[in-house]
């Protein structure tokens, strides 16, 4: 506030109204997310056009060399596949690309002619969202619960054993854990019918609201989900343990004890809530990492999610699919980021105040 402001203003609140602060925070976060999406969209467009092995030119040359298609026609074909007009200057192609994107048009697949990339994504994406989401949710709630127990029983054999296990499993790359599950429980001691568990559904299974359908979905997602949980639960557990230990030293816990509140109330309302709050910001980073790791996990378990689709399209050089899937993976991570920020701000007002300042 400036020094020569009228005295009367000093009595008025120096900050904008509460709802305005919240709105400002949300606006800043949403803008940031939109900016990131714009950057990634631009990057993927120019990656396709300006990379050393420009796939559009490669495709045109291939059409001419292999099938003897004249240049003009080959260019038209390539343009149709990428839904771009190659006769336009680059900046207009870019604008057209953006325009198509807003309508959900990501071009056509090279290798499955006539299949729009958006259709393929629609077929594969739900499975990744389901398996990664279930894995994260399970691992987060399990880790937070176990972490609190460990903090209260620190030093016990239970704490020592679980902490050691957690530190081992969160340090080993997730795809190696997946390989171990496959090799040990699928091949060496064949407890798991790994060949039957491949895919997202058993052959002939149709989506319905029946118990059989849901059981089948869970059966096929079990191995990817188990891998996500095993490799991330240790991290949540150890983080929650540390967070709980430092919360237990806070004055308000001592005061709550002095006030004679029941242990149960202290554990849930005072310690649990405050210790788990900081973990929410880390949920996004983990979400991004798990989605990234799904490329490897889905390949190992042959689970037809977006990660497997991306790997297959890279191996077969199906550039429109690669572009579309990569864009989608990134946008979903950005959205998860935004969501975490907003949820965190909602449950922890301190952040909302800092964020809008």
């Amino acid at each position: 506030m400036s020094a020569n402001a009228p005295v009367a203003v000093e009595a008025a609140p120096a900050y904008p109204a509460r709802w305005l602060r919240g709105a400002g925070f949300i606006a800043v976060r949403v803008l940031k997310a939109l900016l990131t999406v714009a950057v990634v969209v631009t990057l993927t467009f120019f990656m396709i056009r300006l990379m050393p092995g420009n796939p559009i030119d490669v495709y045109i040359h291939q059409l001419i060399a292999q099938y003897g298609i004249p240049l003009a026609e080959a260019r038209n074909l390539a343009a149709a596949l990428f839904s771009l007009d190659l006769n336009e200057p680059l900046w207009r192609q870019y604008l057209r690309f953006l325009g198509n994107l807003t309508q959900g048009d990501l071009g056509m697949s090279f290798l499955s002619p006539g299949t729009p990339v958006s259709t393929m994504i629609g077929r594969f994406l739900p499975w990744t969202i389901f398996s990664v989401g279930t894995g994260l949710l399970l691992s987060f709630s399990l880790g937070v619960g176990l972490g609190m127990v460990l903090a209260y029983r620190r030093g016990s054999w239970f704490d020592q054993a679980l902490s050691a296990l957690g530190s081992v499993f969160s340090s080993v790359p997730n795809y190696l854990v997946a390989m171990l599950i496959l090799v040990l429980f699928g091949v060496q001691w064949p407890l798991l019918p790994i060949h039957q568990m491949r895919g997202v559904l058993s052959p002939g299974m149709r989506p319905s609201l029946s118990f059989e359908f849901f059981a089948d979905v869970l059966y096929h997602a079990a191995l990817p989900v188990a891998t996500y949980v095993i490799t991330t639960v240790g991290y949540w557990m150890l983080t929650m343990k540390n967070s709980t230990l430092s919360t237990l030293e806070e004055d308000y816990v001592t005061v709550a004890r002095a006030r004679g509140l029941s242990d149960r109330r202290i554990v849930t309302a005072y310690v649990g809530r405050n210790a788990s709050l900081p973990l929410f910001t880390q949920l996004t980073i983990t979400a991004g990492f798990v989605v990234g790791g799904s490329l490897l996990i889905e390949s190992i378990f042959v689970y037809q999610g977006i990660g497997l689709l991306l790997i297959n399209s890279i191996n077969q050089r199906d550039y429109p699919v690669m572009q579309g899937v990569f864009l989608l993976i990134t946008v979903s991570v950005i959205l998860a980021n935004l969501l975490t920020d907003l949820v965190y701000a909602r449950i922890d007002p301190r952040i909302r105040l800092q964020g809008s300042a």
């Binding site: 080993v172 790359p173 795809y175 496959l182 090799v183 991004g288 989605v291 990234g292 991306l310 690669m322």
Partner: protein, 290 residues
């Protein structure tokens, strides 16, 4: 002189790493693996001779880890297969640490528009999932050289550390000795590199180890999926071969597939344990680090 006293204190603090059992095991493991991949190949010759009569032998005195699908010694492949992996991890780690430390400290020290711009760029790069980006890039660029692979991994993985360095420098730059240096009219570059950075050396080393483990994760993942067509002896190439050739579904191949998996997993684990022990000693949040 003061510098010597400082060095002694640092060594003393490093000694604290050995107090925790995870620190001892981690340090011993990391030293073991570094020796294995650097000096090991000089001692153990690589067995390239196929012997059809000795396919998938169980471990024995002659072959400590058994033999592979061509009857070659697995132990010698493990000894020779880590050097490239460690080279890429170390180079990528050093590169990303260099970028993060330089830009992060300058960003915090200069502040203003430069800082805002750096933070915006960092946020964007941080949000893009690294492994899918690496996978997509491998579709455009044939990453047949280890140095190129290290460069790409290194140039994509600085954002986390940059933020951490920036936060550290922001708090350091308010200290008296930095203000004194500024009052003396010393240049920005000198203050950042000679006055600020030496104070966060421990912190930088911890993050270098983190960067190395994550570079190893990406590297092995890319090779495993066959997106980086590296040939020759390499733990990740061994896993990739076992995977594409279906050796993992063959019960006798247990030693062949488990050896590289165990080597990579144990190396990663030792690196993480060492970095955690270092963190306990140097963590600035505990107020002892600076």
């Amino acid at each position: 002189m003061a510098a010597q006293a400082l060095a002694a204190r640092r060594l003393g603090r490093f000694g604290l790493v050995l107090r925790s059992s995870s620190g001892r095991v981690g340090l011993a493991g990391v030293v073991f693996f570094i020796l294995l991949v650097t000096a090991g190949p000089l001692v153990v010759p690589l067995d390239t001779k196929a012997d059809i009569s000795a396919i998938y032998q169980p471990p024995s005195l002659q072959h400590p880890l058994g033999t592979d699908h061509q009857g070659r010694d697995i132990f010698s492949q493990i000894v020779h297969g880590g050097r490239g992996l460690l080279y890429v991890a170390a180079l990528a780690g050093l590169l990303s640490t260099f970028v993060a430390v330089t830009l992060g400290s300058l960003s915090a020290y200069i502040g203003g528009r430069f800082d805002s711009l750096m933070m915006a760029v960092t946020d964007v790069v941080l949000t893009i999932p690294q492994f899918p980006l690496l996978a997509v890039l491998s579709g455009f660029i044939r990453l047949t050289s280890q140095t190129a692979l290290a460069a790409i991994i290194g140039l994509l993985s600085w954002p986390m550390l940059l933020r951490a360095v920036r936060a550290q420098v922001l708090s350091l730059k308010e200290r008296e000795f930095i203000e004194a240096a500024r009052a003396l009219g010393l240049g920005t570059g000198y203050i950042v590199f000679a006055e600020v950075l030496p104070n966060m050396l421990g912190y930088i080393v911890i993050n270098l180890i983190f960067a190395m483990t994550s570079a190893m994760y990406s590297q092995v993942g890319l090779i495993f999926l066959g997106l980086v067509p590296l040939s020759g002896n390499n733990w990740a190439v061994m896993i990739n071969l076992a995977w594409v050739r279906g050796a993992i579904f063959f019960r006798d191949s247990l030693c062949y597939i488990m050896s590289p998996i165990a080597a990579i997993a144990l190396f990663q684990l030792c690196l993480v344990w060492l970095s955690r022990a270092l963190e306990e000693v140097y963590n600035p949040r505990l107020g002892r680090g600076v």
